[in-house]
Symmetry: C3
Subunit: 383 residues, 3 copies
C-alpha cells in the first residue's frame, strides 16, 4: 500500500504534539505485568462470561484472571456468584473442568470432601468439630463482586470496587435498542496470541492501520468515517459508517440478518467500537454483536476469545446459517490481520533502540489509554 491510499481519502490531521508511545518495557517486563494484575485486573470490573452460559442453578463456568481462578455459578435463587476456586481447608482447586453443572447443588472439594453451598458457605467439613480456631462460618469461599449488564457478567476481585456505573459510565443507557440480554452466542473462537494485552486494546482503538491491514474492512467502513461518541478515562467508544445501505461487516458486505431487536435510525448504518478497559471489546453491529474477552497469560501472551451474538430467531433459522458464517468469517479474517501486526509490534518493541515514537492524531485515543494504564499503576514517565 502506498501513501495514496490515505491521501485520496483527503484526510491529513496535524500530529498530536509531543505525545509519545509507552516505552517498550511496558510490553515485556514481568514486573510491570505483575503490577498490572495487582492494580488493574484484580481491582477493576472485568468481563467474566455471558449469563446465558450458566442458565440453570448449579451451572458453572471457570475463568482465569492472572493467578486466580474464579467459578461463575448460578445459585438456587438464580443469582450469579463469583467464587474463588480454592478450598478454604488446604487450598485445593475445587473445579478442574472449564464448565459444567454441580448436580448436587453443592461444591465438594475432591481432596477431603469439604462441601460448600452454591453461595460459597461451608456446610460440610468431615471429622472436624467447630471450636476456637475453626468455625465453618469463617471458611466461606472468598467471593468476587458480580454485575450483570445486558447479559454480560462482570466481576471485580477488589474488596471494595468502584461502582460498576462509575467505571462503565460509557455504557449507561447505551445500546438499549439491542436488548443484548436476549441475544445468544452463535459462535466462539479462541485465539492464543504472543503479545501483550494492551496491544490488543491499542489496535482496537485506531483505524490508522485499517487501509493497509484491512482492505476488506476499509471497503465496507471507510476509516475516515470514524467518530468518537464517548471518551472518559479508559472506556472509550466510537463508531464508523457502513457505506452500503443495510450492509454490515460480512464477507460480502450484506447484513447477516435483520436488525437486532429495536435497532433503528442511524444505528442501522453504524458499527460501534467500545473498549471496556481492561479486558473486553464490544462491537455492536446493526444485525449482530461481536465481542472480545482478553485473558492475559503473561507479559507477552494472551488468550483472546471472540464471540458472535445473534438473536435466537436467527440462530434457530436454518437458512440464516450461511449469513452467520459470513459474519464470523469476516471477523476471523480481520482478527487474524490484527493479530499479525500486534505480534510484530510485540517483537519489535523489545529493541533497546526503540525510543518511544510519536502518535499521530489518528491515534489520540491510545494516548488516553496509555494514560489510564499509567494512572492505575501510579507511574509517571519522563517527557
Amino acid at each position: 500500500m502506498n501513501d495514496d491510499a490515505f491521501k485520496k481519502r483527503g484526510v491529513d490531521y496535524p500530529v498530536v504534539m509531543g505525545e509519545r508511545t509507552l516505552p517498550g518495557r511496558y510490553y515485556h517486563s514481568q514486573e510491570i505485568y505483575e503490577e498490572e494484575l495487582e492494580k488493574i485486573f484484580y481491582r477493576f470490573w472485568i468481563y467474566a462470561c455471558r449469563a446465558e452460559e450458566i442458565p440453570e442453578a448449579g451451572d458453572y463456568k471457570v475463568i482465569e484472571v492472572g493467578d486466580e481462578s474464579i467459578i461463575l455459578v448460578r445459585d438456587k435463587t438464580g443469582n450469579i456468584r463469583a467464587l474463588f476456586n480454592v478450598c478454604s481447608h488446604r487450598g485445593t482447586q475445587l473445579c478442574i473442568k472449564p464448565a459444567g453443572n454441580f448436580k448436587s447443588k453443592t461444591i465438594q472439594c475432591a481432596y477431603h470432601a469439604w462441601t460448600y453451598t452454591l453461595e460459597g458457605k461451608l456446610i460440610g467439613a468431615p471429622l472436624m468439630k467447630e471450636g476456637p480456631g475453626f468455625k465453618k462460618a469463617d471458611c466461606t469461599l472468598p467471593m468476587a463482586h458480580v454485575h450483570n449488564w445486558e447479559g454480560f457478567v462482570f466481576i471485580s476481585l477488589a474488596e471494595d470496587p468502584l461502582p460498576f456505573e462509575v467505571q462503565m459510565e460509557a455504557l449507561m443507557g447505551k445500546f438499549k435498542d439491542w436488548r443484548m440480554d436476549e441475544l445468544r452466542i452463535a459462535h466462539h473462537i479462541e485465539y492464543e496470541l504472543n503479545c501483550n494485552w494492551k496491544l490488543i486494546l491499542q489496535n482496537y482503538q485506531e483505524c490508522y492501520h485499517c487501509p493497509g491491514v484491512h482492505p476488506l474492512l476499509s471497503e465496507l467502513t471507510p476509516f475516515q468515517s470514524a467518530r468518537h461518541d464517548y471518551s472518559k478515562g479508559a472506556v472509550i467508544g466510537g463508531y464508523m459508517d457502513i457505506t452500503k445501505e443495510r450492509g454490515s461487516m460480512t464477507m460480502d458486505g450484506e447484513a447477516a440478518g435483520p436488525p437486532v431487536c429495536n435497532v433503528s435510525g442511524d444505528d442501522l448504518q453504524r458499527v460501534y467500537y467500545y473498549s471496556l478497559f481492561p479486558n473486553m471489546l464490544l462491537t455492536p453491529h446493526p444485525d449482530f454483536v461481536m465481542f472480545h474477552h482478553i485473558v492475559p497469560r503473561g507479559p507477552g501472551s494472551i488468550s483472546n476469545n471472540c464471540y458472535w451474538l445473534f438473536h435466537p430467531d436467527v440462530i434457530e433459522d436454518k437458512k440464516a446459517q450461511d449469513r452467520i458464517k459470513s459474519a464470523v468469517d469476516f471477523w476471523d479474517l480481520t482478527n487474524r490481520q490484527d493479530w499479525q501486526v500486534c505480534e510484530q509490534m510485540q517483537v519489535g518493541t523489545r529493541s533497546k533502540r526503540f525510543g518511544r515514537g510519536y502518535y499521530s492524531s489518528q491515534e489520540d485515543i491510545l494516548i488516553a489509554l496509555d494514560k489510564e494504564v499509567l494512572k492505575a499503576l501510579g507511574h509517571e514517565l519522563p517527557e
Copy 2:
C-alpha cells in the same frame, strides 16, 4: 462422597486448635525452592538407589539432586561410592547415561581424557605435569557420604552430615523381619507430576482424604485404623490394619505372596507408612515392600519413582506374576488418585486469597512436617 462416609465410621476428632497450613508461596516460590535445595536436599540424608541396582564393581547409576548430578558406583572392594558427576579439570559432566558399567574400572572424562579410579582418585591427566598449582591428589572428585540401610543407599551432600542413625532414628531396629536387603525390585514406575515435593509427603501422611479419594484402599484398610508408632522430627511412621485375614494392598485384597522373610504376628495384618524426610516414602506390607523416591525438579514439578520389592523367590516364580501385577495395579491406581488431588492443591494454592486453612486433627502429622521444613529453612511464620 457425602459426610456419611465419614460419620458412619464414628470418628469425629476435635480440631487441632490454631494450627494452620503453610502459606501458598511455599509451593510456588523459586526462591524458597532454592533455599530448600540448599538447606534440605544438599544437607540431609536422602535416598539415592537400591544397592542391588549396582551389584558388581564398576556398575553405576546416576541420580539428580537439584543442580547436582551424582554417580553411585560400586568400587573394586565392593563399597558404594557417591561421586559428583563433574570433572575436576573443566567441569564437564563425566557420565551422561543414567546407568551402566565402567568396564575399564576407571571413569574417563570424554573431553580431555582425565581419568579417575572408581574411588574418585585422579590417575590420569594427559600432558599435565604436577607442580605448584596442580597436584593430582587435589583433583579427587568431590564425594557425598554414603549409608546403606537394608539395601537402601542413602547419601548426604553435606560436608559433615548428622549421623545417619540420628536423622533416621525411626528406622533403627525397625523392619528387621523383612530383611529388605534380600528383596529385589519387581517393578518400577516413574511419574512426572506438576506439584511441589512437600505435597506428596503431606498426602502420604494423612488418611483424612482416603474415604473420598481411595474407595478401594479404604475398603481394604479402614482409615480409622491409622496409628502412629513413631514421630520425631520429620521422620514419621505409622500403620493401618488390613481387615481381611492374610490380605494385602492388591486389586482383590488378597496377599500378593507369602509373608516376606520373617514377618509374623501383628505385622501380618498391617501396612506401615514411614515418611523418610525429605525424599523417600517407605511402605512395608506383609508380603512386599513398596517405596517412593521423590526427585524435585522445580517448585512445581517432581519425578516420583515408585518401586515394588518382592522376595527373589516370588519374582522368579512364574505363577506369582499375576499376584505381583495385582499389587502394582493397586498402587498405580492409588498413586494416580493421589497425584490428581496433589496437582489440584498445587494449582489452587497459587491464589492470593488462600489464607492458610486450619488442619484437622486427622492431619496432625502434617503440622510436624511443616514445622520440620520451617526449622530446616530457619523460617518463622506469623501466627
Copy 3:
C-alpha cells in the same frame, strides 16, 4: 583412549601455574548473560553475514543479536546497511522473513505503512504532518556500523565502536591469498546447541581434546603441530599441519579441490584457526574456507551456523560435488563431536562443587580468552 595416545606423541608441557577456569556461573547466570550482551555483543564488531547473500539492491537478510533484530540490506548505491528492524512509529518489527528482497526499494511497516528508504530514511508517514514534535528527519531507522572484510560483513551496534582494524588487527593483511571475497557458500548447516557461547570458543582454541574427541581429525593434523601465529586480546590465531601431501580436512584426507586462488607455499599444508571474538570462527584450508557464526540465545543455548566457502569454479563443477560433500561431512562429524563435549561441560558446570579447575599448558589460549571476557565485563575474580 588411554594416556598413551598422548604420550606417544612425546609432548608433556608443564602446567600453566595458577591459571584457573571461569567459575561455573559464567555459563549459567542470566544476569551475566545480559551483561555480556550489553558489553560485548552490543559493542564489539560482530560477524553478520556474507556480502554474497545480499548481492542486489533491495536484497536483505535479518539477523538476531540478543534482543535486537538487524536488517542487513544492499542499498541502491551498492552499499550494505545494517538497520534496526523496528519501526520508529510504534516499534513494530519491520521484516518478519529471515531474508528476501524489497522489490519496491523501500521498507514499509505492515502496521501503519510508514515507509523508509533502503538507507533507513523515513519518506512516508501517512496522515502525519510535520511540525514540532514530529519531523521525518528525526525518524530515520537506527543503524549499526558496517564493515566488509573480504566478503564477510561485520557490524557494530555501538554508537562509537573501536576501529574495525584495531579490534580485528589479527586479520589485517592476513589470508589475502585466499581472496575470500571471491569465494561463495557451497553449504550451510545450522546447529541448535544447549551450551553457552563461550564454550564453543574455548573448544575451538585448544586441541588438547583432539586425540580423544576427534580420532579422524587427529590423524589428518597431529595435535602437536598446533602453533599460534597471532594472539592479541581476544583475537587469536594459529594453525596446524596437514600431514598428507596436498591433503585437507575431508573424510579421506584428500583435498576437496585445487588450492584456493593464490594459496601457495606453507599454506598448502596448513589449516588455520582464527577466533574472531566474540561470534565468529574462521578456518581457512588450502582448498576451502569453513567458518562458524555463533548466535547466543540465552546463557545455555546458541545457534551455531557453519558455512563452507569454495571457489565458484568448484561449486559449478558437477564432478567436484563429491569432494565438497567430503569436506562438509568431515566437519559435520567433527562439529558434532565437539558439540557433545561442550554440552556435557554446560551441564557439569552447574555443580556448586565444581571449584574452578586448572588449565593445562595446552589450553593457554583459553586463559587469554577468559581474561578478555572478564575485561570486557569489568569483572575481577579472586585468586
